[in-house]
Symmetry: C2
Subunit: 198 residues, 2 copies
């Protein structure tokens, strides 16, 4: 027997992009350009959407609910997320939505952190300008994802964003695109599986 | 010979307080009450001053310049500072002021971090709800201070802010007051030394 199954839209991969000064950005702009327009990718650029920090929490939560995976892309500001992304964490990842009783909206979703730093890799070392490897600053972001029940993907880090050679930037951009293509392919499979089970 | 020396005002200790929901606060309110009004303490309550995130950068920088020491007091939000304090870091601790060429305004000032957590101490452990000791989340804040050339004081941490017994809270409040009195006394001495040198 032949069963006709209407094509099912795969859940999108949600890219939450946070750059306070995109015009001054070299690396983040290049990275973003490498993935923008990939089918299934939903981009939310926080500083474009909310220049006054007035985050639309229900809209953000709706976008998160439908996503297969979540990407946080930003330049590092004071060893962490720029303030609007921190505000997004504080407001959107609310109790009862992202954690606590009934807070399972993000449970099992994959989370990819894409971060650029001004300092080069050598700056992130005991003898460097930032005194510690980047891994000692990342628990704040990583545990935010884990506390919401998300699966933490190996982060994509680009050091020396202002100075790296174009070829290094191109490599990073290609890597980023490949990582997102993997996530989007997985989202496709997840969509089919869900449809099959329905 | 008798030299008359006019009394010299000591530089203040600047308390930057950041609580998004002070009405819901138990611990931070109690801690704040324990130190408010101490002579020489200058309080800037960020969520009262800037409910719309429109930080007056020159005013904040002026307050920092005249301070002997800086206190950052806040409840922990997503393993870090609440977003308005993060915004304060991003905007106020600017290149040319706090770091980089000519950025020596904070150099040598003492910095005290006063933080409360909702989870109790046991939650901050490998087997606990937050998976890591608090010390693995603090480098983000500590290195922010160090990068500005500040001296990092041993932080004052109060766990389980919603649930601890009143007596524990009282102890923490007294400890906090004692720590600030020490800083204020040191500020007095610094004021005299500066006056003597003038």
């Amino acid at each position: 027997m032949l069963i006709y199954r209407a094509p099912v839209a795969a859940p999108p991969v949600l890219l939450v992009f946070a750059h306070p000064y995109p015009d001054r950005s070299r690396a983040n702009r290049r990275l973003l350009r490498a993935v923008q327009g990939l089918p299934g990718l939903e981009l939310r650029s926080l500083y474009d959407l909310y220049p006054g920090f007035d985050i639309d929490v229900p809209a953000e939560q709706t976008a998160l609910r439908r996503a297969y995976a979540v990407v946080w892309q930003h330049p590092m500001y004071w060893y962490s997320a720029p303030s609007l992304l921190k505000h997004w964490f504080d407001k959107v990842l609310a109790r009862g939505f992202a954690y606590g009783q009934g807070g399972t909206a993000l449970s099992g979703k994959r989370c990819l952190w894409v971060v650029t730093t001004g300092g080069d890799a050598a700056a992130f070392a005991e003898q460097g300008m930032h005194r510690r490897p980047l891994e000692e600053f990342s628990p704040v972001i990583e545990q935010t994802a884990l506390f919401c029940g998300m699966h933490w993907e190996p982060p994509l880090v680009l050091h020396g964003a202002h100075r790296v050679a174009d070829s290094v930037l191109d490599d990073a951009a290609q890597q980023y695109r490949a990582r997102l293509e993997q996530l989007l392919a997985a989202a496709q499979s997840a969509g089919r599986t869900t449809a099959g089970a329905a």
